[in-house]
Amino acid sequence: MARENFHRILNETQQDVLRMGSLVEEAITKAVDALARSDIALAEEILNFDDYIDDLNVRIETNCLNLLALQQPMASDLRTIAAMLDIIIDLERIGDHACDIAQITKHLANEPQLKPMIDIPRMAARAREMLREALDAFANRDATAAHRIPAKDDEVDRLYRTVFKELIEFMAKDPKAINRGSNLILVALYLERIADHATNVCERVAYMVEGVPKKLKRSVVEINDVAAHGDELIRAARVEGATGAP
């Protein structure tokens, strides 16, 4: 493989990563749209997306391995290839979560909404925005942006807590809401994870550009924390129910 050829394939592979990213971005958007509108057809569409995403995944991986095996890439190219191999794992996971959300949509399609969905689409928008900016940072080899983006995760985490608390309250008041409520909590959890994966992408981009392996500052939702809070709420609701009885 000539040097020139090496760079052509490297460039094309980087573009494929962006293609995969675009598909994944679209999958998230559609998944949450489908959920908000109980649109089963749209949910099915996302499940098909997965095939395209997988194809790209395989192609990128093969190209990366070929590039590694057939040439001795120089430091910066080596980092790019390593970063891509990592990034596609995160993108794949995000795609999987979009499918998870689509499955939940199908499962919940015939149940009435608990209330208009507001915070979940908001979470999705934030997570999507993080992913988009992470991919921009990758396309532009922009380390500054890669360092800046993970801070947005805080907003996603905050929304997650809000959604969680609200859904627990619903379920505590009305056992009929448990199926829907618990599934929606899963959706929120997937979205929170998606934002985390976007943070991972940023980390890889920063490493790719700067050559310094480092965990970026990130915030993590203390699930236990929230869960404990949930227990408290359920207890509170029970007590209220008991004293409220004649």
């Binding site: 573009q15 675009s22 958007t29 988009r132």
Partner: protein, 388 residues
């Protein structure tokens, strides 16, 4: 008794189909024109710098996005329309692969398919990347004389069309509502009359029935007029029209209503005649619509001045009130059909948002122009200027 209303409903439906058709047809014509223009532009593009500059200026002037990629799938042209519609960042995408600046898998795939496999076509594609938009993408392969191939994508933003359709749907449901509410009331009154109610009650019912019928007739006529105006099917009967006399007549016919509403209405008119070539009935409709708006929006105790002023070669009909005025950000929209400033207020006052759209159409069909000047809490003035 019911059949006139059935007829009204049918007329309404027809009016909508016409309006819808016309908008569609117009869009298609624009699209064809643009495709032809870009074809010509692509052919004339060569290495000549001046020609390139001219081409890029031309491309930037188009109200659609145009993207051209070369043999190597690098972007060689990306016009202002594409920047706006696709919401890309400041760094220009030229010289890079498209996917690096526009994150749309579909757009990328289609453009590459045109370049590499000659697969051309048009597709509606949602864009989620920077903004949620509906795009219509047309891709074509362009073969240059030197044997190289480029591919071009024309990107149209359908979001506006979609919004327009949503607006139309809203309007249909509003109109249906407006027709249904009085219809139910009328039905009850009619049934009461049929069951033998008489005397004072019957007379009251009949008065209400007449008033409601009038209102519905106005609504349906407005809709039909607008549909005809927009499709260019409204035949104008041109003749010589004296605007002084016209204005005097219209004001006179509104005096009783103004008096009832406690509004002072006066006409300021020059002596003699000011004559233009026009359709008298249509021009009356213009004045009636403007006066009707002024009367409906001006509170009791207010003043309305309707009149005619002339300058050499020009005649201006105006209606000026000292009512609540129109919010600044609503001003650019009030001539759009179906647009009403305050949904609830206008609707309860019987407004449909069609009046000013009709005014604008008629005035422009006379080669004139209509302007509005308004200040909150100070009042509003509409002016229609015609050349004599």
């Amino acid at each position: 008794m019911i059949s006139p209303f059935l007829a009204a409903a049918v007329a309404l439906a027809i009016a909508f189909i016409i309006a819808y058709w016309v908008t569609r047809r117009r869009l298609e014509a624009v699209r064809a024109e643009l495709a032809a223009a870009t074809d010509r532009a692509a052919v004339s593009s060569d290495s000549d710098l001046a020609a390139m500059a001219r081409l890029s200026a031309l491309l930037d002037a188009l109200p659609v996005g145009v993207i051209v990629i070369d043999d190597d799938a690098r972007v060689v042209a990306f016009n202002a329309g594409a920047t706006e519609i696709l919401g890309v960042q400041a760094e220009r995408p030229v010289g890079r692969a498209l996917i690096e600046s526009v994150r749309s898998y579909d757009l990328d795939r289609r453009l590459l398919a045109a370049l590499r496999e000659g697969v051309e076509g048009t597709a509606d594609v949602p864009l989620h990347a920077a903004s949620d938009r509906n795009l219509r993408i047309t891709t074509k392969a362009v073969h240059a004389a030197d044997g190289s191939t480029e591919a071009i994508a024309i990107v149209e933003d359908l979001t506006r069309v979609r919004d327009l359709e949503a607006m139309r749907r809203d309007f249909v449901s509003n109109v249906s509502h407006e027709l249904r509410t009085p219809l139910s009331a009328m039905k009850i009154m009619i049934e009461t009359l049929q069951s033998g109610a008489g005397g004072e009650a019957a007379a009251g019912f009949l008065r209400s029935l007449a008033a409601e019928t009038d209102r519905m007739v106005v609504l349906v006529e407005d809709l039909l007029d607008l549909a005809r105006l927009e499709s260019g099917k409204l035949d104008m009967r041109f003749g010589s029209v004296d605007l002084v006399e016209l204005c005097r007549d219209v004001v006179a016919s509104h005096l009783p209503r103004a008096r009832r509403l406690g509004i002072s209405l006066l006409a300021t008119l020059p002596d003699g005649k000011v004559t233009i070539i026009g359709d008298r009935d249509k021009l009356v409709q213009v004045m009636v619509n403007l006066l009707d708006n002024a009367l409906r929006h001006t509170p009791s105790g207010g003043h309305i001045d309707a009149g005619l002023s002339s300058a050499p070669g020009l005649a201006t009909l105006y209606v000026k009130d000292d009512g609540p005025g129109i919010p600044y950000d609503a001003l650019p929209h009030i001539f759009e059909r179906f647009y009403v400033v305050d949904q609830s207020r206008s609707r309860s006052a019987g407004g449909t948002g069609l009046g000013l759209a009709i005014v604008k159409h008629i005035v422009e069909a006379h080669g004139g122009s209509v302007t509005v000047e308004s200040e909150l809490n100070r009042g509003t003035t509409f002016r229609c200027t015609f050349s004599i």
